[in-house]
């Protein structure tokens, strides 16, 4: 699980540069939550493209998470990237006034999709490609909102576990305050990922590494000394979120079908 900071930085900045060149974009855009993942993505994008070619969107919900908003603002100053701040409260509140609900997961998802909608709108206004901020831990557990924070054009950090992103963040010189912050999906005020999942990222990543990277079975993971309850919970989360890692199935009834045997590379003619 050990990574080499300078090498990963070199690889991922090259990836960002190459992808933008291939798809003919000069600028990248991303949402900034004030958390570690979007900060790492912003650092990588700024180093790959130059800060003048990166747009950060800060999208608070009214006055909640004001600390995160301040941290994101600080980061923007540090990196020298361009930024817009868009309050999503008016549109989310208007929707909830018409369709009230007390379910905070529902509202969290609605907020994530509202941010996605703003991000896509601004990507067009700014002629900028959307740089994703979902990490490998979230992608494997399905710990993200489909068509919300998971939506992007390219994802430089999707093959790095949360704990590896912390190592990379330290190498990139990300402020200690952000490195030490408890990760949160921002679903409601005071929420933290580790509390909601009932596991620490250290525990999760070690088990995910066994299961995904080393292709170990449940029995082998338990034999290696991992806790059965925690292992089973992680296996369950992976299984139940398979749909988030695919495009929806298309009913195949012809000889050649999109998603089945109409098989062209994403980078066609690039």
């Amino acid at each position: 699980m050990k990574i080499n900071g300078p090498f990963i930085e070199k690889l991922l900045t090259k990836f960002i540069r190459e992808e933008l060149t291939k798809f003919n974009f000069a600028n990248g855009i991303l949402g900034l939550s004030g958390g570690l993942d979007s900060t790492v993505s912003a650092f990588l994008a700024a180093r790959a493209l130059g800060p003048e070619h990166v747009v950060g969107l800060i999208m608070p919900y009214g006055k909640t998470f004001s600390q995160d908003k301040d941290d994101a603002g600080e980061l923007v100053k540090l990196l020298g990237i361009r930024t817009h701040t868009i309050d999503i409260a008016p549109s989310v509140d208007a929707y909830y006034a018409a369709h009230p609900s007390a379910e905070h997961i529902l509202k969290g998802n609605k907020m994530a999709r509202e941010r996605m909608s703003v991000l896509y709108d601004f990507s067009e206004r700014e002629k900028a490609l959307i740089i994703g901020t979902s990490n490998k831990t979230e992608l494997l557990l399905g710990y993200g909102t489909l068509h919300g924070d998971m939506a992007c054009a390219i994802n430089p950090i999707g093959d790095l576990y949360k704990t590896q992103i912390r190592t990379l963040g330290r190498h990139l010189g990300i402020p200690e305050k952000i490195l030490k912050k408890a990760p949160t999906a921002g679903l409601w005020d005071g929420q933290t990922d580790e509390e909601e999942l009932g596991l620490t990222y250290e525990e999760i990543d070690k088990i995910l590494y066994q299961l995904a990277d080393l292709r170990q079975s449940r029995a082998e993971v338990l034999e290696a000394g991992f806790d059965p309850g925690k292992t089973d919970k992680i296996i369950r989360l992976i299984k139940n979120s398979e749909f988030k890692r695919h495009l929806p199935p298309i009913a195949k009834i012809s000889y050649r079908t999109v998603g089945h045997d109409f098989l062209f590379p994403y980078d066609r003619d690039k």
Partner: protein, 284 residues
């Protein structure tokens, strides 16, 4: 002798752009006094082709692009990779050795990786041979990427009297070494094979890999040359486009064979008969 490995980033599915890239690298190599130039696997087409294979396939006898490549080889022999349309419609992942206006040899990839992230056998027909062919530098044998990870393939070239083993590759990088070096873990696997095969075949090994990203996959570069004594002469880094040039002494081949008589003592007839007996005992 001066050899160059063109560690490069082809354009996926765009043969004319790649031909342009070849043209400029050949010109640069000629200018640098290079005597043999090696391009990576599928250098004329890019790697992750999927259903594009048919669109980019070339028929060597007929295609004007092949004619141009032949002309380009006057004064500088080179090896490049392409999709070959052969036997009316079978498509191969092939490597061609061009020299003095002719195609001297074509190798068709035998080991088509089809597991995990790889799906070559879905799109390519399988080659059947590992043959050596004479050149002014000595006997040359070609391999393509995964071919080289099957040591039986190297053994066939060795038994064919190979002096220079040329491996063209489009190997993606995976994993990170515990040592903390700035390379992919998989780079060591290729180097280990390079060292072993060069030393025990008493032949030069040239490994030319590509770089760049396709559909998110990072190709791992790390092109290298080993001498017939198993010594690494040069190695490129894992990420950058580079024309890696190296001077080498072909007399090393003759010299090392005096000390280590592996070539003299090779026993292909015994291996052949023993293999037949092994195969007879195979079960389903």
């Amino acid at each position: 002798m001066k050899v160059a490995l063109a560690q490069m980033t082809p354009h996926l599915g765009d043969v004319s752009k790649n031909l342009e890239l070849h043209r400029s690298l050949i010109a640069k190599a000629k200018n640098d006094g290079v005597e043999l130039l090696i391009f990576p696997e599928l250098s004329l087409t890019g790697y992750t082709l999927k259903d594009l294979v048919r669109e980019v396939a070339l028929i060597p006898e007929k295609d004007p692009i092949f004619q141009e490549l032949k002309e380009l080889s006057r004064g500088l022999p080179f090896v490049c990779g392409f999709v070959e349309d052969k036997d009316t419609g079978l498509l191969f992942n092939s490597a061609a050795y061009f020299s003095e206006g002719e195609v001297q040899h074509i190798h068709r990839k035998v080991y088509l990786p089809t597991y995990g992230m790889f799906e070559e056998a879905k799109f390519f027909a399988q080659g059947k041979n590992f043959l050596t062919f004479p050149t002014p530098f000595g006997k040359v044998g070609l391999m393509i990427c995964y071919d080289f990870l099957h040591y039986g393939a190297s053994y066939l070239l060795f038994s064919g009297g190979v002096d220079l083993i040329i491996v063209i590759s489009a190997a993606p990088g995976r994993g990170f070494p515990e040592s903390g070096e700035e390379v992919f873990a998989t780079c060591h696997m290729w180097e280990l094979m390079g060292e072993t095969i060069s030393r025990f075949s008493t032949a030069f090994v040239f490994y030319c890999n590509r770089v760049g990203f396709e559909d998110g996959k990072a190709f791992a570069g790390g092109s290298f040359i080993f001498s017939p004594t198993g010594k690494m002469l040069t190695r490129a880094d894992c990420t950058d486009d580079v024309l890696l040039t190296q001077d080498l002494d072909l007399d090393e081949i003759r010299a090392i064979r005096k000390k280590w008589p592996y070539k003299r003592d090779n026993k292909p007839e015994i291996i052949l008969e023993a293999l037949k007996r092994v195969i007879q005992k195979y079960e389903d």
